[in-house]
Symmetry: C2
Subunit: 202 residues, 2 copies
DNA sequence: ATAAATATGTAATACAGGTTACATTATTAT
DNA sequence: ATAATAATGTAACCTGTATTACATATTTAT
């Protein structure tokens, strides 16, 4: 694109990935520019030139994180025909992600901006909106399952969505506390019994 | 106690309560000394003289918060004979606390120190220890229920404790996001079906 | 070859936030 | 009354952290 001027010596996408892991682990305010400089391996002015200030970097990082959820959990949730299997596999994917050796043990959306000073409330709100969107995705899936007559007519898709997002948010916190994969898996199994009891038996 | 010297013009316990509400709402790092000065109504040197630095104030605040959980949720959990009723009432108490007009809508232990800069990791760890203690309280209660033959012999108290603390942690986050009391109550009800299905029928 | 454009690193700047020094005030003990 | 003790408020200090100024380096266009 930029055909004139000194070329960038780092890959923007790789830099964003590195920044993402830092914010993922430490949260927005827990991450300092010095942390980002260390992880990316470029000095602050270069990072600023490429992405903007810390706020802007975080927004880029969030966009960079979204496909992990969209192509992981939500893809599984939406592409698995049977609702019980869909929920089971989605929760399994959560557990896998939250305990993978390849990334920090939590969910960026759930924990990267819980409390901030007033000037950074913007990010708290942005993540809250994403959590709302995430919940809506679950709700939509349960609405489909109801249309497909896979769950009882009396069940409320919104309530089920809220229940399972509560589980996911709780697991994100527990993973951050160092919970073992097997323990989170057990919690998922117990949560799953709930939906199983609401399933229409074939 | 101090019989000599100029007497304090504010009540330590009241000041701690005011500080508690600030930390409860904004978290450790989201709270500034200026916030505490505003809420307590005393200048920083007086607050320092009474409690120590910000770290020490927070520790006092956490101690001040503990009875809310111990005399609320845990008292209900331990003093209600039937396990299903105990769990139901304990979750109800969580929902009540997390949506009470008299306090911030979340749990201080769950959300006040999720991510911090390295120098404040101490508080993250302290709250993590309290969460562990909280989980153990649930586990102990389920062990008792098992001895009382109120839940099936095959059930694992530790797994049940982890499931319900996941629910509580998830609800603490949702409350902070502004969830309605009725919605949290519905989530509690769904979670409760799980334990009901493990109950020994009389 | 020279100019224009963009990236890079060093070093400075600006500011917010925790903490403390110091003078003053209010109390008790003698 | 005076000294001793402790609390208070003002104002400063200090440090960490985000941001930027500026000189230098590297590329393309003419």
């Amino acid at each position: 694109m930029a055909v004139v001027g000194r070329p960038r010596t780092f890959d923007k996408d790789e830099a964003l990935t590195k920044a993402m892991y830092v914010f993922w682990e430490k949260g927005y305010e827990g991450t300092t520019m010095a942390d980002l400089v260390d992880s990316i391996g470029m000095k602050a002015p270069s990072i600023y030139a490429a992405f903007g200030n810390k706020d802007a970097i975080f927004k880029h990082v969030v966009s960079h994180y979204l496909p992990i959820v969209a192509n992981g959990q939500l893809a599984i949730l939406n592409n698995t025909p049977n609702i019980d299997e869909a929920v089971e596999k989605t929760l399994n994917e959560c557990v896998r992600l939250f305990t993978s050796k390849d990334n920090p043990h939590t969910c960026l959306i759930m924990t990267a901006a819980i409390n901030t000073s007033p000037e950074n409330v913007e990010h708290v709100e942005a993540l809250r909106d994403l959590r709302k969107y995430y919940k809506t995705a679950w709700q939509t899936r349960f609405e489909k399952a109801k249309l497909d007559k896979q769950i009882e007519a009396a069940t409320d898709p919104k309530s089920l969505a809220e229940f399972f997002t509560t589980i996911v948010q709780g697991m994100a916190l527990r993973a951050k506390d160092g919970a073992k994969k097997s323990d989170l898996a057990t919690t998922s199994e117990i949560a799953l019994k709930t939906i199983s009891s609401l399933m229409i038996k074939i």
